[in-house]
Amino acid sequence: MTHPLDKLSAVVDGQLDHDSRDKVLSHLVGCDTCRAEVDAQRRVKARMAALESPDPSTDLMQRLMGVSSFSTEPREEVRPVITPVSLFPQRSAFPAGRSTGGTRPGTARGARSRRRAGVLGAAGSAAAVASLLGTAFVVGDPARSEQPPTLQPPVASFSSDHASTSSGAPFADPVALLNSYNGAGYAGLNPTLRPVALTGR
């Protein structure tokens, strides 16, 4: 007999598709070893889920503030920052250094250079603003932080739980119980019905 050991934790986590889950469950029906393993994993998972997450200590943030990366003081490392504005003096200085003819700085070439630099600066500023607004638009998406993750309710599992509960009720109809392992169809008549043992309470 081949034991589907690699799928046991997946069946505990409910991560198998319908067919794989059926195969593993069918195996569990006849294999005491795997059933015990699944039972043990479920207990561990339940115990882990019941544990409360520890609260951070009260002085954690104070100690974090003491870490250099959180400090408001400037860092030791120097990162080169290149912006259109910072390029401006380099470009303007270069032609000025080449002009050896004793011309005054207010020549036509100098004016053109300043205009060019001005256009570059404006374009840079516009790009920076556009980038900021773009980032703000993305960051401001309400679905980004406040919305919880989407999920698909495990209707088949819920049907089983509902049937297990209502089976204890005095006059529950057995059709609800049949639907317990067939969340996909009406009235327990779906042709995909398969013999699977259920747990009751």
């Binding site: 401001g140 698909q152 006059f171």
Partner: protein, 350 residues
């Protein structure tokens, strides 16, 4: 502690500890049950615990999409539970096994019988015959004296032979369960049953309902259609909570999970008048929606009208639609907090 919070806690404690007592006390104050009717129903509730049988049962349900029926072969062993097969279906051999409730759970599951007494007036209509067996007919009446249900109980074994449920007008049948054949058997065990699969479901108990509310879960003690909360379970495998409601006739389970409903999950469901609420009628019916960070899955055998009332009684917040300008403003404000060292840490500092 505020007065309102104290009131919630006190009422929760009363619900948690006093439900069976109050449920039993209500009939004596408001309506006169027939003592023999009550004792017949108590006998019917207890009969499957000590009577084994083999029978054929037909279930029919009437809804907005017409009727649906199923014919079942039921083999019940008093000490184990029921093995149920669908007869005449396209899946021969399809079976389900439902384990008998343990004695501890039977006390909890006694809730619905107490709720039946609390909600309806029970009348003994005396003697009749059904499938060749001598039976007693018991009727359940609403407070306006309309007929809610009829029970035919086997005099010899105490087993429920037939049950009919009626809509609010007292005339339209919405659900019927009837044995067409029944043989009482002596064996207490089914020899060929497979072992049961471990389950991650654990009882939470009514005493923790107040705590669950403080955590943000929605669990009203009562719902429309006279449904009352009588039990709570938690499934550790998917983190969901199950709230069980009943009026003694109809059973509804409300499952809640943290999250938002994935649109792909409603495949096969139909849209309803309420946007974002999806329904699939059947035996039982399913309704799913999400609101306020909780995904609700409601499973129950209520008639469609009452099902709609129950669903409408829950919160239905739709996701807020934000204009581009609002979205930019929110984003800029968020970026501004990043640029401030303390602002960046403020979420962590609370």
């Amino acid at each position: 502690m505020s007065l309102s919070r104290l009131a919630v806690l006190v009422s929760t404690a009363l619900i948690g500890f006093g439900l069976p007592t109050s449920a039993a006390a209500v009939p004596a104050l408001t309506k006169a049950d027939s003592p023999t009717a009550v004792s017949w129903l108590q006998r019917a509730a207890a009969a499957p615990n000590h009577v084994s049988y083999h029978g054929t049962q037909i279930i029919t349900s009437w809804g907005p999409q017409g009727s649906s029926s199923a014919m079942l072969d039921v083999v019940h062993a008093a000490s184990q539970g029921s093995e149920i097969s669908v007869l005449g279906s396209s899946a021969p051999g399809a079976k389900a096994f439902v384990q008998r409730a343990t004695t501890t759970d039977a006390a909890v599951d006694g809730g619905p019988l107490a709720l039946l007494q609390a909600t309806y007036q029970l009348v003994d209509k005396c003697c009749t015959d059904l499938i060749g067996r001598s039976a007693v007919l018991v009727e359940a009446l609403r407070s306006d004296q309309t007929l809610a249900a009829k029970f035919w109980i086997d005099k010899a074994s105490g087993l429920l032979l037939q049950r009919q449920l009626f809509s609010a007008d007292g005339k339209t049948m919405v659900r019927a369960t009837v044995f067409t054949e029944l043989e009482i058997e002596s064996s207490e065990f089914l020899g060929h049953l497979p072992p049961t699969v471990p389950s991650g479901v654990e009882a939470v108990g009514m005493g923790k309902v107040g705590h669950l509310r403080s955590e943000g879960w929605v669990c009203a003690p009562e719902l429309p259609a006279a449904l009352k909360l009588y039990d709570v379970h938690r499934d550790t495998t998917n983190g969901s909570l199950q709230f069980s409601y009943s009026d003694g006739l109809f059973n509804v389970s409300l499952f809640e999970q943290r999250g938002a409903l994935d649109p792909a999950a409603v495949e096969g469901f139909g849209a309803t008048d309420s946007p974002g609420v999806y329904v699939r009628y059947g035996m039982p019916s399913y309704v799913v929606w999400s609101s306020g960070g909780i995904v609700y899955t409601l499973i129950g055998d209520l008639p469609p009208d009452q099902l709609g009332q129950v669903v409408r009684s829950f919160p239905h917040e739709r996701p807020v639609k934000v204009s581009a300008i609002q979205r930019l403003g929110t984003g800029l404000a968020k970026i501004a907090t990043w640029l401030t060292p303390m602002g960046a840490l403020s979420p962590k500092l609370g």
